[in-house]
Amino acid sequence: MIQFENVTKRYGESTVLDQISFKIDPGQFAVLIGPSGCGKTTTLKTINRLIEPDGGRVLIDGDDTGVINRVQLRRRIGYVIQQIGLFPNMTVAQNITVVPKLLKYDKERCDKIVHDMLEMVDMPYEQYAQKYPSEMSGGQQQRIGVLRALAASPPIVLMDEPFGALDPMTRSTLQDEIMRLQKKLKKTIVFVTHDMEEALNLADVIIFMEDGHITQMAPPEEMLKNPANETVKNFLGKHIAAADPSTLTAADFMKTNVVTVGIHKGIRACTAQMMRSNVDSLIVTDENDRYIGTLSVEDIQPHGKEDATISELLRTDRETFHTTDDAKRCFDMLISTKANYVIVLNDDGTVAGIITKTSIAKAIAERLWG
């Protein structure tokens, strides 16, 4: 169990950690998250005393870490960093056995560890053990980085944005792997990230930090349901929406970069505008940018080169929606009529955006595959 008791850290004038207290139970996957500069990495590093707190205590299984020799302490806590930091002068096998060797394990035991570790992540010993970090991809390197942290079987593993530098594909593979490893090995993991999706995927408990304080500490479902304040809510962002489809509004799906023209524009100007923007219909607004109607290429065609304004050609009979309207109504409208898009308006009648069939496809895809 990791326990923070009123831990404080200052750098000069600024207080990075302000009397924080919390507990992480054994076997829990705890994720520290928050805006940059909130103190999440500092919190992590006070656990293995890479950063010494100015006040308060950090206890591990009831023992004050402040009085344990810090070098000894770190050998019992796994540590994975974003830059990976595999020693380039050592092979994979040597990197994995850094901590076991510091703990004076004998050679046979070290060899067995290398075999076991590589097997755990499906990297064949014969193929990888003698490779150097520079001969591997970033994803493979960070796998070894994780194995190095696990090699001496520490009960606690600290991870500082370990997958932050990896491409999205590799990142999600490694997330799955770390979850699998954690279930199997029952480690207590403290994991720093700024990616809420990652936090929601991995965490048993999320610790949300702001300005050196803990804003909220809760399991992901609880945080989604009852975010403590606006910052948490903003961080959760689309995930809150995704959690409950009945609260999705038109604003969640609309495209905002729509092409509008003023009512007094001539036909030629509108045709040119359509060509430039590569669209076949325009949204027409009055001098105050309020929505009046739409103009499609079919409406214009018969009048090709006339020198008139568009005011007589535009359609005003389209049904419009409000940004706060239920998204489902917009979708129903799109599907039941033959319209290519529906228009979403702001409170003041100006155009907020449009929802197209592509928006629906995207929404469904997100629901299905996240």
């Binding site: 890479l50 020693f87 380039p88 901590v99 510091l102």
Partner: protein, 208 residues
């Protein structure tokens, strides 16, 4: 007709070079490591050292000659100090340029300061340190010519005689072997560099 003397002087020359570079290397590495532990002091110490570095060798040997007399120690002490400069600087630069991620990972793994130095920092800065050694050796080969100035032999003897007697052949008899020595020793150190560069960073080093 100078055959025997040539071989003898090459031997003396080499002896000076090896002794000076050896002491210079130990001194330079030690001071370089110490300075890298205390970057605050290095900001003061390094500039002072580079001022010393600009004092002509001939002046320094002259001064030491006044105190120590015409003994090989005079030459070896002077040249050791000159050999020390590039090694010290490269050791310092090599260690302080080791990427922070490796040091942080090492600390996180539970290495103490000594282990971080010997397992991580020194291996990673070895190519730079050996680069300093190479520079020191090649310089020392040419500086050792000065030993003859105070009558202590080496290839400089031919050069000084040649100048005094106005015999160009004699000057070349000293200069050419000295140049060859510098090239050969430089080559040997290149071989050494490949040996001590950890395999995992060899590609990187070559790419530089």
């Amino acid at each position: 007709m100078y055959g025997g003397e040539l071989i003898r002087n090459i031997g003396i020359h080499l002896m000076y070079v090896f002794a000076s570079v050896f002491f210079g290397f130990i001194l330079g590495m030690t001071l370089g490591i110490l300075l890298s532990r205390a970057p605050k002091y290095s900001k003061i110490v390094l500039p002072i050292l580079s001022v010393f570095n600009t004092i002509p060798g001939i002046v320094f040997i002259g001064i030491l000659f006044l105190y120590l007399g015409m003994v090989p120690m005079t030459v070896i002490i002077a040249l050791s100090i000159y050999a020390m400069f590039p090694i010290l600087k490269n050791t310092y630069v090599g260690i302080t340029n080791v990427e922070q991620q490796y040091v942080e990972a090492a600390r996180g793994c539970g290495m103490n300061r000594r282990q971080i130095l010997f397992k991580v920092e020194l291996p990673l800065s070895m190519p730079t340190i050996i680069g300093g050694l190479r520079m020191a050796t090649i310089y020392t080969v040419s500086w050792t010519v000065l030993a003859a100035m105070i009558g202590l032999g080496g290839l400089g003897e031919f050069i000084y005689q040649g100048i005094n007697l106005n015999q160009n052949a004699l000057i070349l008899l000293g200069a050419i072997p000295a140049a060859i020595l510098a090239i050969v020793l430089g080559f040997l150190i290149d071989v050494l560099q490949r040996k001590v560069t950890p395999r995992g960073i060899q590609k990187e080093v070559r790419a530089k």
